[in-house]
C-alpha cells in the first residue's frame, strides 16, 4: 500500500479536482447569469440560463471531476475526496481510525487550495458574483430542511458507493463512472435547494476562500453541510451492510 504521505497527496489532489471543476462550474454559472432578472425568488441565477439544465451542467462538472479523481487516484488513496465518505467507511470498520484525521485534513486542504486557485485564476468576480461556488440553503429552505436534504443526498451517494465499489461482488471497473453520474443526478435535483454539497470539504473550500477574499461570510450554514452529509453517509453504510449480510 502506498505510504500515508502519498495517500495524503492523492486525497488532497482528488479533492482539489472536485472543488476546482465542480464548485468552479457553479461560480461560472452565477457570473454568466449576473444581472439577469429571475422570475421567482427561488431562482438565484443558476437556472436563469437553461432551467434545470444549468444544474445538470453543474452536476456533470462535479460528476466528471469525480470520475477523473476516482480513475486517476482511486488505487493510491481510495479517492474518498469527501470527509463524510471517509467517516462512513470508518463507521463500518472498512477504514482504520488513525487515518481518518489525516485523510480529512488532506481533503480540507485540497478543497481550500482549489477555491483559492480558482479565485486567482478567474479574478474577484468569482468571489463577489460567483461566491466561489459556495453552498447555502435557497430562499424558503429552513435549516432543518437543509440538513435533511444534504442527509438524503449523501445517503444516496454513499449507498451507491457501498453497492458499486465497497462490495467486492460488484462488477469492477464501472465504479468511477457510476458514482460520478450519481452525484450529477443528485445535484440536478437538490442543487436549487441547498446547493447539494454532499461533502463537508466541498463546502469548506469556497467558505474559506470567500472569507479570506472579502466575499460573503457563510459559516453560520456550515453545520448543515457537516451534519447532513456525515449522518446520511453513515446511515447508508450501516443500511447497506445490513441489506447485504448473509442472514
Amino acid at each position: 500500500m502506498p505510504s500515508l504521505n502519498k495517500r495524503f497527496i492523492a486525497e488532497l489532489l482528488g479533492t482539489f479536482i472536485l472543488v476546482f471543476f465542480g464548485a468552479g462550474a457553479a461560480a461560472i454559472t452565477l457570473m454568466i447569469s449576473a444581472g439577469g432578472n429571475p422570475t421567482t425568488p427561488f431562482n438565484i441565477g443558476i437556472g436563469l440560463l437553461g432551467g434545470l439544465g444549468d444544474w445538470l451542467a453543474i452536476g456533470l462538472a462535479f460528476g466528471l471531476a469525480i470520475c477523473a479523481a476516482i480513475y486517476a487516484l482511486g488505487r493510491i488513496s481510495g479517492a474518498h475526496i469527501n470527509p463524510a465518505v471517509t467517516i462512513a467507511l470508518w463507521s463500518v470498520k472498512k477504514f482504520p481510525g488513525k487515518e481518518v484525521a489525516p485523510y480529512i485534513a488532506a481533503q480540507i486542504i485540497g478543497a481550500s487550495l482549489a477555491s483559492l486557485s480558482f479565485a486567482a485564476a478567474v479574478g474577484m468576480d468569482a468571489v463577489t458574483l460567483g461566491g466561489l461556488g459556495a453552498t447555502a440553503p435557497f430562499p424558503g429552505i429552513g435549516y432543518g430542511q437543509a440538513i435533511l436534504v444534504e442527509g438524503i443526498g449523501t445517503f444516496l451517494l454513499m449507498i451507491t458507493i457501498m453497492g458499486v465499489a465497497v462490495d467486492r461482488k460488484a462488477t469492477p471497473g464501472f465504479a468511477g463512472l457510476v458514482i460520478g453520474l450519481t452525484v450529477a443526478g443528485i445535484i440536478t435535483t437538490l442543487g436549487n435547494i441547498t446547493g447539494s454539497s454532499l461533502n463537508p470539504a466541498r463546502t469548506f473550500g469556497p467558505y474559506l476562500g470567500d472569507m479570506l477574499l472579502g466575499g460573503s461570510n457563510l459559516w453560520a450554514f456550515y453545520p448543515i453541510y457537516l451534519i447532513g452529509p456525515i449522518v446520511g453517509a453513515i446511515a447508508a453504510a450501516f443500511l447497506y451492510n445490513y441489506l447485504s449480510s448473509e442472514n
Binding site: M1, P2, G74, R75, S77, G78, H80, I161, V166, G176
Partner: protein, 70 residues
C-alpha cells in the same frame, strides 16, 4: 505428455508443465516460470500488493512474444 521442444530435438522427455498460452508440453529445462503480482483493493480503498505471487508457466516462444508488452 512429452516436452514439445525436446521432441523437436529428437529427445523423448516427459513434460512437467504446460504453457498457459499455447498449450505446449514442457520439461524442466524448457519451461519458464514467472511470478505474477497480485493486487488487492482499489477504489474506495488503496490498492495493496499481496505478499504471495501467482506462478505462470510459459514456453520460450510465448515468453519472448509477450515480453515485448511487459
Amino acid at each position: 505428455m512429452k516436452c514439445y521442444i525436446c521432441a523437436q530435438e529428437g529427445k523423448d522427455t516427459d513434460a512437467l508443465a504446460i504453457c498457459i498460452v499455447c498449450g505446449m508440453g514442457l520439461c524442466q529445462d524448457h519451461l519458464i516460470r514467472q511470478e505474477v503480482d497480485v493486487w488487492e483493493g482499489g477504489y474506495p480503498f488503496p490498492a495493496e500488493k499481496l505478499e504471495k505471487t501467482v506462478p505462470r508457466i510459459l514456453c520460450g516462444f510465448c515468453y519472448h512474444s509477450l515480453k515485448g508488452r511487459e
